[in-house]
């Protein structure tokens, strides 16, 4: 992904005189990606396909879903049929449609939270690694203190104070999760900061943001990308848990965690419908974990 992104400005810079070269280069990029995909072990392939399907469902939800997100289309708790693929929920909304919209809401919110957490934790971690001294001490000790409390417990405390809403949940989780990102980015950046070229950039008079972006970030990209996958899983599971507890995404938004809770009555009569949204959560987490495992193996050079 990143590779194609970086190639584009270079290809554009080559000018219009040689469009064939840029086209060939891009094709070989796609080819490389495809060959890399074919070489991946089965578990990683499985994970990538799962992620692709979820992303597709999230982006095109309104076009795929047979009914609207909060549209009441029949009696409650209808069984599975051709008209309602997975039956209806407690209010008579089509469960299959809500499952598809859930991909957009649940995964989207979790992704946004992880992005925020990385922006915050990553920046602070890099600053701590570069600045050292007091800045590093203060930031690290503050993070130590915050990490002494389990995330879910801390999140519950903060939500009771600020009130439960999606924005509050995203902010609270992003801040709490950024402590973990801070730890990792600081640790890996510390190995890079001692390099000669960073010292050189500093002597040249480059400013902090430039050093962070141009000298350090490219060199810590691989562990950070893997960490992004793992943190996403964690945030995703926490958001699902909070929504399941009724403290996260609020109705009528279609969300997998709260869908499980709303339909839990069906379980006790032996119907499996509530397991579907829970399974959707589990499947994505397993998929991301598979891909991260493979990516870590590939980039750390343990195998191949």
């Amino acid at each position: 992904m990143t590779a194609t992104h970086e190639a584009t400005p270079a290809a554009a810079g080559a000018g219009k005189a040689m469009p064939s070269i840029s086209a060939r280069r891009r094709r070989s990029m796609v080819g490389n990606a495809w060959r890399g995909f074919l070489k991946a072990p089965f578990s990683a392939k499985f994970g990538m396909v799962v992620i692709a399907v979820y992303v597709f469902a999230a982006i095109f939800a309104p076009w795929i879903a047979p009914y609207g997100e909060a549209e009441v289309i029949g009696a409650g708790y209808q069984p599975w049929s051709f008209q309602f693929l997975m039956g209806t929920d407690q209010l008579g909304r089509d469960l299959f449609s809500r499952l598809i919209f859930g991909a957009r809401n649940t995964v989207g919110v979790a992704f946004l939270t992880t992005l925020l957490s990385f922006a915050l934790g990553g920046c602070l971690g890099l600053i701590a690694a570069i600045a050292k001294g007091w800045t590093d001490q203060i930031l690290s000790r503050a993070v130590d203190a915050l990490m002494a409390i389990p995330v879910l417990i801390f999140a519950l405390l903060l939500l009771s104070i600020f009130g439960t809403s999606v924005i509050n949940m995203v902010l609270v989780l992003a801040v709490l999760d950024s402590t973990r990102v801070f730890r990792l980015s600081r640790a890996v950046a510390q190995n890079v900061v001692v390099m000669d070229y960073v010292e050189f950039a500093r002597l040249r008079g480059e400013r902090l943001p430039w050093i962070m972006r141009r000298e350090i970030l490219p060199n810590i990209m691989a562990p950070m990308v893997a960490e992004f996958g793992l943190r996403f899983c964690f945030v995703f599971l926490t958001i699902s848990a909070l929504s399941f507890l009724g403290l996260g995404l609020q109705p009528p938004t279609a969300d997998w965690g709260s869908m499980v809770y709303e339909n839990k009555m069906l379980i006790t009569v032996g119907r499996l419908t509530p397991l579907l949204p829970a399974g959707a959560i589990a499947l994505l987490t397993v998929g991301v974990n598979f891909v991260v495992d493979w990516f870590l193996h590939k980039t750390s050079g343990l195998r191949e």
Partner: protein, 324 residues
């Protein structure tokens, strides 16, 4: 021995500081309460007098540091303040509300630990013994999957399998426990939540046990035992296990700490009257003193278990016992 004592004391001191800082954080959280909180709690019909009385009740007329010391002094004497659910002539002490709940949670966690710890250590030993076989790979797969599953998914799968007409219908799907239920009745009612929590934590403990044993198996004295002709099972139990205890004990303590987070969701699924359920209900009702008390108890347990893991890791490390 002196060196060990010094390190242990250092860790204990650090743990105390952490506890203090965490209590400070939990207290400071209440300072961030948005304005008009009293109106939000008391409802639209609140007169200015009741609002003022409420603000005085939660101590908003005093400076923060005095309130902190009052609060922490109360906590140390077992007084967590009064719930916002209390009204005139109907005081509800947080400590009184929490005591039976805390006992229930402790009972559930203890039951889980009794099942999960021997099970995971045993399975981990087996996986180390039969490593790189189908059994080992299957266990690896199951543990990865169970780490990725949300707790409530595992809980509902357990309900489908054991407490619904779909497969077996032998256990109660709701863990309603009365004050005067007998021990066996209590165990029967808690069985599904305990099974769920076991499934949640077993995988990780098992994996770490396996890793710890395999790590030791690479050392020369195990090679020696093998050359001597000891049986594989003997090598693991007699030669490898004693040196693998430290990491295993640490992992067990850490996972028991993890139970604290799992307990919130699992209690909610089974409507088990424990502290986790209480905390979720209090968050919904924005009953801040109750949430604060729960958060403090959970966080303190978490820190203390981590501390125990740390100290056990040091004490069971034979290298530290005999300094060169």
């Amino acid at each position: 021995m002196n060196a060990v004592l010094k390190i242990v004391l250092q860790r204990l001191g650090l743990g105390l500081i952490t506890l203090f800082v965490v209590s400070l954080i939990i207290f400071v959280a209440i300072l961030m309460l948005p304005g008009g909180f009293a109106e939000a709690i008391l409802g639209q019909a609140a007169t200015p007098e009741t609002v003022a009385a409420f603000n005085k009740e939660i101590g908003l007329d005093q400076p923060a540091y005095i309130r902190y010391f009052n609060w922490i002094a109360g906590v140390l004497q077992g007084d967590f303040g009064t719930s916002y659910a209390s009204r005139v002539g109907y005081r509800r002490e947080v400590a009184e509300m929490l005591a039976p709940r805390a006992f229930n949670t402790l009972f559930l966690a203890g039951m889980t630990a009794i099942i999960a710890v021997p099970l995971s250590v045993g399975l981990g030993l087996l996986a180390a013994l039969y490593r790189n076989t189908l059994f080992d790979r299957a266990i690896n797969m199951v543990s990865l999957v169970s780490i990725s599953f949300p707790e409530f998914f595992i809980a509902y799968i357990a309900i489908v399998l054991l407490a619904s007409p779909a497969v077996f219908n032998i256990l109660p799907s709701l863990a309603k426990v009365d004050e005067d239920a007998g021990l066996w009745e209590r165990i029967y009612r808690c069985s599904l939540p305990a099974i769920t929590m076991t499934l949640v934590i077993v995988a990780h403990m098992m994996r770490m046990t396996r890793a710890a044993i395999i790590n030791v198996l690479a050392s020369p004295y195990v090679e020696m035992a093998r050359l001597k002709g000891a049986k594989p099972w003997q090598i693991i139990v007699r030669h490898a296990l004693p040196n693998a205890w430290a990491p295993i004990v640490t992992v067990v303590a850490l996972n028991l700490a993890y139970l604290i987070v799992g307990v919130v969701v699992v209690e909610f699924v089974f409507t088990y009257p424990g502290m986790g359920k209480q905390m979720v209900d209090a968050v919904t009702a924005r009953d801040v003193p109750v949430v604060q008390a729960c958060a403090l108890v959970f966080a303190a347990t978490y820190i203390i278990l981590n501390l125990i893991a740390d100290v056990l890791g040091i004490v069971t490390n034979p290298r530290l016992m005999h300094p060169k």
